[in-house]
């Protein structure tokens, strides 16, 4: 498996707060990887480190075999669609394409023009007058026509209405099929990513909670419901991700590679959203220490 992004003990500190800490990751090439986590979990920080907008405070990060933004050749390998898709409001769509053409050696003008045409946009229109969805599409067009090896998108659909969201992901997936580009995109809404991702990284409280192939994650996570019992009494192969109890019943989400044989459990599968939520809740339930500290 060739990795398109490799992080080792990666950390970033702003003044005294760690926005990302001890992140070790390996994202495989040729996949669409979803980076999910609640707001403020460090997703933007991780992506900014990957495109070289930020420099790490600790650890190393390597993208497409090089240090992010080390030189022009490295920059050419990675495309980036930033959060809220910034564009120059005073420049027209044609100007933006020209900007892309003049600053990127691998620029694919045919791709850029045909996309703008298919979106039904007037090239002479100023970017400041575009709707959020159109601006996102323009930013995506710039990212795709650059023909990167890895395209990174930070919350690309967060501010879009459902139709624009669908259209955006259609264009993105079509490009993945056509150009075989690896994609890394973040979202705080799992349902946005459910269809498009085949690899997943869950980031909570500035740390990577779980990471892996979506199919195998779904296969290895089970929801167990049964009479109340302590999670500590489970067999060795079953790792509790989250647990909730009433006075009589326990509901656990466990990660296991072997089938659950205990007949007292009702075993069910989880959707991707439930799986991610289990990890988010799990950190809250399992680690009350830091919360107490904040309260003091």
């Amino acid at each position: 498996m060739t990795a398109v992004l490799r992080a080792e003990g990666l950390g970033k500190r702003y003044r005294r707060r760690w926005a990302l800490s001890d992140c070790t990751l390996k994202i495989p090439a040729g996949h669409v990887t979803g980076l999910v986590g609640p707001n403020g979990a460090g997703k933007t920080t991780l992506l900014s480190l990957a495109v070289g907008l930020l420099a790490p405070t600790a650890g190393t990060i390597e993208v497409c075999g090089g240090r992010p933004a080390a030189d022009a050749a490295q920059l050419a390998k990675v495309g980036f669609v930033a959060q809220d898709t910034p564009t120059y409001p005073g420049l027209s769509i044609a100007d933006h394409l020209r900007l892309g053409a003049r600053t990127n050696p691998r620029w694919d003008d045919a791709v850029a023009r045909s996309r703008v045409e298919r979106l039904g946009l007037d090239p002479a229109q100023k970017a400041g007058r575009l709707s959020g969805g159109q601006r996102a599409q323009l930013a995506l067009t710039l990212g795709l026509a650059k023909r990167p090896e890895l395209l990174i998108l930070d919350e690309p659909v967060a501010s879009l209405d459902p139709l624009a969201r669908r259209e955006f992901l259609q264009v993105l997936m079509e490009a993945v099929a056509e150009h075989e580009v690896s994609v890394l995109l973040s979202s705080h809404v799992v349902s946005d990513l459910e269809r498009v991702c085949d690899h997943l990284v869950v980031l909570v409280d500035s740390q990577v909670r779980v990471e892996g192939d979506v199919e195998s994650l779904l296969e290895s996570h089970l929801r167990l419901t049964g009479p109340r019992r302590e999670p500590a009494t489970l067999p060795a192969g079953q790792h509790v991700v989250s647990a909730s109890h009433t006075d009589r019943q326990s509901t656990l989400v466990v990660r296991t590679d072997a089938p659950v044989l205990d007949p007292s459990w009702t075993v069910g599968r989880l959707g991707l959203e439930d799986l991610v939520l289990a990890y988010m809740e799990g950190t809250r339930a399992v680690a009350p220490g830091p919360v107490m500290e904040v309260l003091r």
Binding site: G52, A55, A69, L75, Y88, R106, K146
Partner: protein
């Protein structure tokens, strides 16, 4: 990258260029008449119209304001606006390194600023040429080109001011990351530097000339009473014997060479001071004979007047030295700006 910089910059550039060209055209239209007057009459200054004087002072104002405007409106938003709008995330993730991005932006803007101000200063210098030439031979009523206010509006130094203002604005913008505060700080710093350099630095950029002269009526410029009220010591200033010099120090010294005020007996040489309540100031000298006698006594007692000044011939050496100073500081600032953009903005 040059294209992008130009595309973002062209509206502001056009505005400044239009003003510069318009002013240059006005100067070009009125300049030849001035040259004619200078060629025809011995004293140009008797034949200047009010319009000419207005143009002369307008030139000074335009040249004083241009670098400030350019620094505030071209330099400060250069990086700050991108950081503020988040478009740096777009620009810095194209296949152009941040260093090249900044080099191009800063280079294009600084060159444009140098060109615009270069045109202005060329026009103003050319227009003022007949007046400056006359100043060198007679006493003119307009400030000579070596005095601080005129010096900064002639020759090559305005180009240095403009480049400095752009680099300063860009650097302040990169540090503050907000356009408006960056503009305010740039404005304040440029104005401060424009006052500080002539006050404390310019005089030391070329060797000064010194004179120690005896007193006579020819050399007398004025006598003033110190500001500690009636009975306070008298001070005298004399001229350098030439015109267009920039006098830095004009001091009476005693026989041992120490700086001093005029001796108290000199008060008798003067007419009665003005009635109390009116301000002290230059006092008209008494009859010629009394004054000559007083001057002879001063000379005999060993009093001399010590002058330190930048001679008129130092105009161009001072111009080049000051330009070099500004460009050197701009270079250091730019280096800091590159370092900051590469290291601190990440």
């Amino acid at each position: 990258m040059i294209w992008l910089t130009w595309r973002q910059f062209r509206a502001q550039a056009a505005a400044v260029a239009a003003v510069a060209v318009a002013f240059a055209i006005v100067l070009a239209a009125t300049g030849p008449r001035l040259a004619d007057i200078a060629a025809t009459y011995r004293d140009v200054f008797d034949h200047l119209t009010a319009n000419d004087r207005h143009l002369f002072y307008t030139g000074i104002v335009v040249m004083a304001v241009a670098p400030v405007i350019i620094g505030v409106f071209w330099g400060a938003p250069l990086v700050a606006r991108e950081l503020e709008a988040g478009t740096h995330r777009l620009a810095w993730t194209q296949s152009v390194t941040r260093t090249r991005w900044l080099a191009t932006k800063l280079g294009v803007t600084a060159l444009a600023a140098a060109a615009a101000v270069g045109l202005l200063t060329f026009a103003v210098t050319w227009w003022s040429q007949p007046l400056d030439a006359a100043l060198s031979s007679t006493h003119g009523s307009l400030p000579s080109r070596l005095t601080p206010v005129s010096f900064a509006m002639r020759g090559v130094v305005p180009v240095g001011y403009a480049v400095f203002a752009v680099v300063l604005g860009a650097t302040v913008g990169a540090v503050f990351r907000r356009t408006l505060p960056a503009m305010a700080v740039t404005l304040a710093v440029v104005i401060f530097v424009q006052i500080a350099v002539p006050t404390w630095i310019r005089a030391h950029l070329a060797p000064t000339a010194e004179q120690t002269v005896m007193f006579d009526r020819e050399r007398l410029d004025g006598i003033s009473i110190g500001d500690t009220g009636p009975g306070s010591p008298l001070r005298m200033t004399v001229n350098t014997g030439g015109v267009g010099n920039w006098v830095l120090s004009n001091q009476t010294v005693d026989a041992s060479g120490r700086a001093t005020d005029l001796p108290s007996w000199f008060g008798a040489c003067l007419p009665a001071p003005p009635a109390p309540g009116t301000t002290e100031g230059p006092v008209k000298v008494q009859g010629p004979d009394t004054m000559d006698a007083c001057f002879q006594r001063l000379n005999a007692e060993g009093y001399r007047q010590h002058l330190v000044y930048q001679p008129a011939r130092n105009f161009w050496p001072l111009q080049w030295a000051e330009l070099a100073l500004y460009l050197a500081v701009s270079g250091l600032l730019a280096g800091f700006c590159f370092w900051w953009t590469r290291r601190r903005l990440s």
